[in-house]
């Protein structure tokens, strides 16, 4: 019933059900309707990466691809403008597999050493004075990852996608018309999977873009997911992340992350020998931090990053006066997190560089939330990137799992084309959806487990927290949280203090 209504409401936009095979602007329509094979809604990092991958891969390169965004893309012809001297505050840590993908599609401009900063180690430690920490190192030649400004990644991918023949359509979007999910178990005759369910995008100026497959790459407030009736599970963390670019006392090549009871603070290297701070904390604290001057903020950040009490000898459970219950608790927490303990060669603790001052613009804060779509596909609609999952920034994985989505989606579409199957049918998309949702779900659960451990108010967890690094020292799923499940060339070394 509601299905019927939804269909009839789609009205004129849906008038032409077939005809994309004739590709190109359809002259028959009174409105200016254009038909494509794939419409990617959202031309951010993920949407543009998907567009590049589609046009770059065998079989899918023959598809006609459009990218829709409210903002106009970087023009491929524009001379490469010099980047601003101080890097933008929105940056992403890219894992080796993401770097390989960017290189493969020919957008390596973005990850050139002059436009990005590499890090070879990652150091994670907690707020206790014990200097328990863990360090991950890149093995072999490659770095563990690179930090690149979102704008740089985005514009490189946008320019490349256009070079490869994707059409960008920008402007205000009036509505997204997507087939609604089927309700209940009622089936009307002819109401089958392949019913004329061709999604389309209607611009405010009357332009209509339509394709058998609409990809939602429009970020965490996805209107594609909304119009397709895809729902989310998740939670607001009740936290905000304060971020800014900072001047530091020396160049560095380590990604630092320290866990404080209020949340983690990260110091990442960015181009030009500067640093980027992402500081997750309570909303009140975030507001106060935002109001601080450049030097005062730097001083507070420095304090947050500095080991309390200076160098302290190794702490064991006995030196903390811990009884059997403490270690029992720790091992329970370990079991909970699915960790194995294990001794490894120790690596020295590296003191982070001194944070001198906020550079460029002021520090700004963003709300933190975790959100996971209950399904990634729905009759001609499929989600990638933040539209499918928004995760805590503590491990810097957000955009990387989005790139992973793109890779599997393109492979899945290729397989459908290879088999002469409808790439927009649920039969095809469900394979992508199930596999990615599983993988990303595991990441989200690991992140939640780490976060819960550090942010619980429970005295028991508080006690376990002092063993925090012992817990993290296990090479379990948590290693993946930090280094990225995709970076196979990363070797981890866990450490206790000297």
């Amino acid at each position: 019933m509601s299905m019927r209504r939804a269909l009839s409401m789609r009205g004129a936009a849906m008038a032409s059900c077939r005809g994309f095979l004739g590709a190109g602007p359809s002259a028959t329509s009174s409105t200016t309707q254009q038909d494509f094979d794939v419409v990617v809604f959202g031309g951010g990092m993920i949407g543009s990466a998907l567009a590049c991958l589609l046009k770059q891969s065998p079989l899918t390169s023959e598809l006609k691809v459009a990218v829709v965004d409210r903002n106009a893309p970087s023009s491929p012809s524009s001379s490469i403008a010099d980047l601003p001297q101080v890097p933008d505050i929105r940056v992403s840590t890219l894992t080796p597999s993401t770097l390989a993908l960017i290189d493969r599609v020919g957008a390596d401009w973005a990850i050139h050493p002059t436009r990005s900063a590499s890090f070879h180690d990652m150091q994670v430690w907690d707020q206790t004075a014990s200097r328990k920490h863990m360090r991950f190192s890149g093995s072999g030649e490659g770095p563990l990852g690179r930090v690149v400004e979102n704008e740089v990644i985005k514009s490189a991918l946008q320019r490349r996608a256009q070079e490869l023949g994707c059409e960008y359509a920008s402007g205000g979007v009036k509505e997204v018309l997507a087939p609604r999910p089927r309700v209940g178990i009622t089936r009307e005759a002819g109401d089958d999977d392949d019913l004329c369910d061709r999604p389309s995008v209607v611009f405010e100026d009357g332009r209509v873009l339509s394709a058998p497959l609409l990809v939602g790459a429009d970020g965490s407030e996805s209107i594609v997911a909304k119009s397709a009736g895809i729902r989310y599970e998740g939670r607001a963390y009740g936290q905000r992340a304060v971020t800014c670019t900072v001047d530091v006392s020396r160049p560095f090549a380590t990604a630092f992350q320290r866990f404080l009871p209020t949340g983690p603070i990260a110091l990442l290297p960015v181009r030009g020998g500067r640093g980027n701070i992402v500081w997750s904390t309570t909303p009140e604290h975030a507001r106060r931090l935002e109001s601080l001057g450049a030097r005062d903020f730097a001083a507070e950040a420095m304090e947050a990053l500095t080991v309390e009490g200076g160098p302290v000898p190794s702490s064991s459970s006995s030196s903390r006066g811990g009884g059997g219950w403490e270690s029992a608790l720790a091992s329970r927490a370990s079991a909970l997190l699915g960790l194995r303990g294990g001794a490894s060669p120790p690596a020295a603790f590296e003191d982070p560089p001194e944070v001198v001052s906020v550079a460029g613009g002021r520090q700004r804060s963003f709300p933190l939330a975790s959100k996971h779509a209950l399904t990634y596909c729905q009759r001609g609609v499929v989600l990638v990137g933040d539209a499918a999952h928004r995760i805590h920034p503590l491990a810097g994985q957000g955009v990387n799992i989005g790139f992973g989505d793109c890779e599997l989606l393109v492979t899945t579409i290729q397989e459908a084309l290879w088999s002469g199957q409808d790439f927009s049918a649920n039969l095809t998309l469900e394979k992508y959806a199930a596999e990615r949702r599983n993988k990303n779900g595991a990441m989200i659960r690991s992140l939640d487990a780490v976060r819960a451990l550090y942010q619980s108010e429970s005295p028991y967890v508080e006690a376990a927290r002092s063993f925090g690094m012992d817990l993290i020292n296990g090479f379990g799923p948590l290693k993946q949280v930090f280094v990225g499940f995709a970076s196979s060339n990363a070797a981890a070394a866990d450490i206790r203090s000297p």
């Binding site: 079989l59 598809l63 002819g190 999977d193 290879w418 088999s419």
Partner: protein
Amino acid sequence: MLLARGCGIATASRRAGMWCARRLLASEANKGTGATMSGSSSVDPREIEKFAKRANEWWDTGGTYGPLHRLNYARSPFIRMAACDHYGLNAEQRRPLESLSVVEVGCGGGILSESLAAMGAKVTAIDAAEESIEVAREHLKRNKVVPDGRLSYVATTGEALASENRRFDVVVSSEVVEHVVDPPSFCRTLAELCKPGGLVVMSTINRTVWSYSLAIVAAERILGMAPRGAHDWNQFVTPDELTIMCEDAGLGLTAVSGMRWSLPKNQFELSRDTSVNYIAAFSKAGDRGAGE
């Protein structure tokens, strides 16, 4: 590569089963075929009725014929590769079969027909069940993969089409030979529909203990994946029997591959294992000459 491997396996086991197979075929032929619709047709009316009753279910991918949709992920790539190999085409294009005429005998609701047309072929798809052809035509109007004018359906039999002297570059018959009354005669009809130097591709279910447990017991009785009574295990054809029947019809085996259910992917994939589902390509002797 995959094709070549499969082929090796087939030839190895071929000779061993040859005698057995011939004897079995002879005894089947003696059973008599009183149920034939017309003297010259291998169609079994009871089978046609069975499919006609369920014609409206062809495109319900979650229903009765779901496995056939998922079988496309194995049989379509096989046909794509076999045809490209045979005719020297580049399989890595989106629609590599554009230069070929294809007939699909026993197309049902058109699940495979649309795939073949999506790969570019000019497809004539036929089925003896009018109801299925109706469903197939309806679906074609709404489909999103077939280029205009590349697929047409006719409610007829292979024999009737052959008697009209229609000949094709590629003849496809998937999951049909196990349902016909007279398999040897059916193979001769397929050979007849094929141009000299052309290609015939058939897929079916092997007659092994495995296929009994998987296709009959598990699929029909336990999982309800196939309608109960959809298959008669005694009618299943082994790769050796199929090879012999085709040889007798003037077709030489060029490649064979198993099609195995992959649980994690929830679809079929090509494999070396021919013990349950398999697909085979045969070439017809003769000079290919110029196209139709």
